[in-house]
Subunit: 147 residues, 2 copies
DNA sequence: TCCATTTATATCGTGCGCGACCTAAAATGC
DNA sequence: GCATTTTAGGTCGCGCACGATATAAATGGA
């Protein structure tokens, strides 16, 4: 019978938790990001570039679990905002590399305050957030499983 | 110094885990839902109605952490698909109540198989999924904090 | 009763997100 | 070297998601 103990209530669906949590996160970030004139996906994309500048569209898309058809226009908006530039790779004419402008680099200094503010707001301590991260990554990797 | 031990790598940002996991979940559900002709948000909305029929737009939106401006057109699509009907409340002419059609009720029987399939695919056992759920709900509630 | 305020939903504009399709550049095979 | 295939981005259409705004119904005083 235990094998039929499948969650039937929406509150028990693991997917429901991620779905609603992502909405809540978006909403909580919103006031901070509005001051910077950024959306949440734009901000997340910039964090990847702050770690390593000059990444290809494809690389960024994989890290974000996102299709290039989503990322291309997003990066163009970041370009219009003056935070990044896009240029064809010298070694591979198909690939487009994304580079931070000075303005884009400067934004990096605003991030730590936002992050710490958000972390605090969750009400979870550091070890719990770490545990959550680990479970989420294992879940994600499991779902990607066969590639 | 520990107070400055703020995550600086995107992989350490708790928000990053939820963001990418939600994309992965969406993608994993996609093939199952395509057979039913549903999107993921539509499916999640139906699960709420399977628990309790005849809920108001407002109630559903709160449970989904979603604005009514998002839910209204979504529910209209479910109506066009023949899964639900919308009707003004008898007692409150402002409110719209959403009811499952026979067709909508029938879909419920397909859900357990999808759920169990997805749960298995995550690679996490039941207690880990439970732990994940708990952390996500605490995070969500913490972020909603002052409201 | 009447009118101001609040509440529930709907509408609109912008950006995210995906699948389907297109183009060009690179890699492969003969 | 040239034809075929694969890969990287880009474009398009549809649906999700939110904030701003609108409108109608309910509420609450004076």
């Amino acid at each position: 019978m235990d094998s039929f103990d499948i969650p039937k209530q929406a509150d028990d669906l693991f997917c429901f938790g991620v779905y609603t949590a992502s909405h809540a996160i978006n909403r909580a970030y919103s006031p901070h990001l509005k001051k910077l004139g950024l959306t949440y996906p734009q901000y997340i994309t910039l964090t990847l570039l702050w770690e390593r500048d000059g990444q290809k569209i494809n690389t960024l898309a994989q890290k974000l679990e996102m299709e290039t058809s989503t990322l291309t226009p997003l990066v163009k908006r970041l370009e219009n905002l003056g935070h990044v530039t896009r240029s064809r790779s010298q070694t591979d004419g198909r690939a487009v590399e994304v580079f931070l402008t000075e303005q884009g680099v400067a934004l990096k200094h605003k991030a730590p305050e936002i992050t710490s503010c958000m972390s605090e707001q969750t009400g979870l301590d550091k070890s719990e957030l770490q545990k959550l991260q680990t479970l989420l990554f294992r879940l994600r990797d499991g779902l990607n499983g066969g590639r």
